[in-house]
Subunit: 144 residues, 2 copies
């Protein structure tokens, strides 16, 4: 199904021919840099560390799916806008005009996806963000 | 449904009492900072510019939903790992072991969501990332 040769192939990045194998051999925690000349600073336009495997894709897709609901995004933005401390579920119904069961349903999805922590304090659940989970998503979405 | 008073309320951020109204009055393009004392450097833990409205939530959720599929994420990571230029659909079947119709199906979702551009070159479609779309998602997911 391919009209071009298999790897390695030469691609052109910002006007310079770059040997693709340099990218493959230099996977890193951040952006992959491709150098035909190692001293050159030519950025590849990559997502995170380049191609991801099936396990990583499953993990990231699970977290992104939990975020792919408008009500949930609004709730999340209200939680984090209230500060670094936790936020009571009782304070999340009024801003969005939704019921407590609806709040609980959406918050459970975010907790189950590892994006928030939940702590019961007396009658009410309290939620806090897990910053590392958001840093992970940002790293994947970083094209630089 | 609320056990606490309506806004403004005092929340505790990193051990300091912060007047919530300071956040409300200082929406910014980046993180919202909350100061009981304007000279203090107390960061709120916010997503982007703080609470988002329904329209923005719909827009972001649509893009995040397009990304919430493992195969699609792997395809996307292969596109971007190939460099800043475009990538032929013909080169995306082999790395993931999927058929051309499956590649086309997933890539269409990413194009429709405004994450990739598609250009027909002869027999094959070629795809490029839209960096601003990814920057927008990163900005929303930025807790700093």
């Amino acid at each position: 199904m391919s009209s071009t040769s298999a790897r390695p192939v030469n691609i052109t990045t910002r006007g310079s021919a770059v040997d693709r194998t340099d990218c493959d051999q230099e996977p890193g925690p951040d952006a992959v840099r491709c150098h035909s000349d190692p001293s050159a600073e030519i950025d590849c336009c990559t997502l995170g560390a380049g191609p991801i495997d099936a396990a990583e894709a499953e993990h990231l897709a699970m977290r992104l799916k939990a975020l792919s609901d408008p009500t949930r995004l609004q709730l999340l933005s209200h939680v984090t806008a209230r500060g670094c401390g936790d936020v009571c579920a009782c304070d999340l119904t009024e801003p969005l005009g939704i019921s407590q069961p609806t709040v609980s349903h959406h918050m459970k999805k975010l907790v189950d996806a590892g994006l928030l922590t939940r702590e019961q304090k007396g009658r009410w659940a309290h939620y806090s963000v897990i910053p590392s989970a958001f840093a992970e998503l940002r790293a994947f979405l970083d094209l630089s």
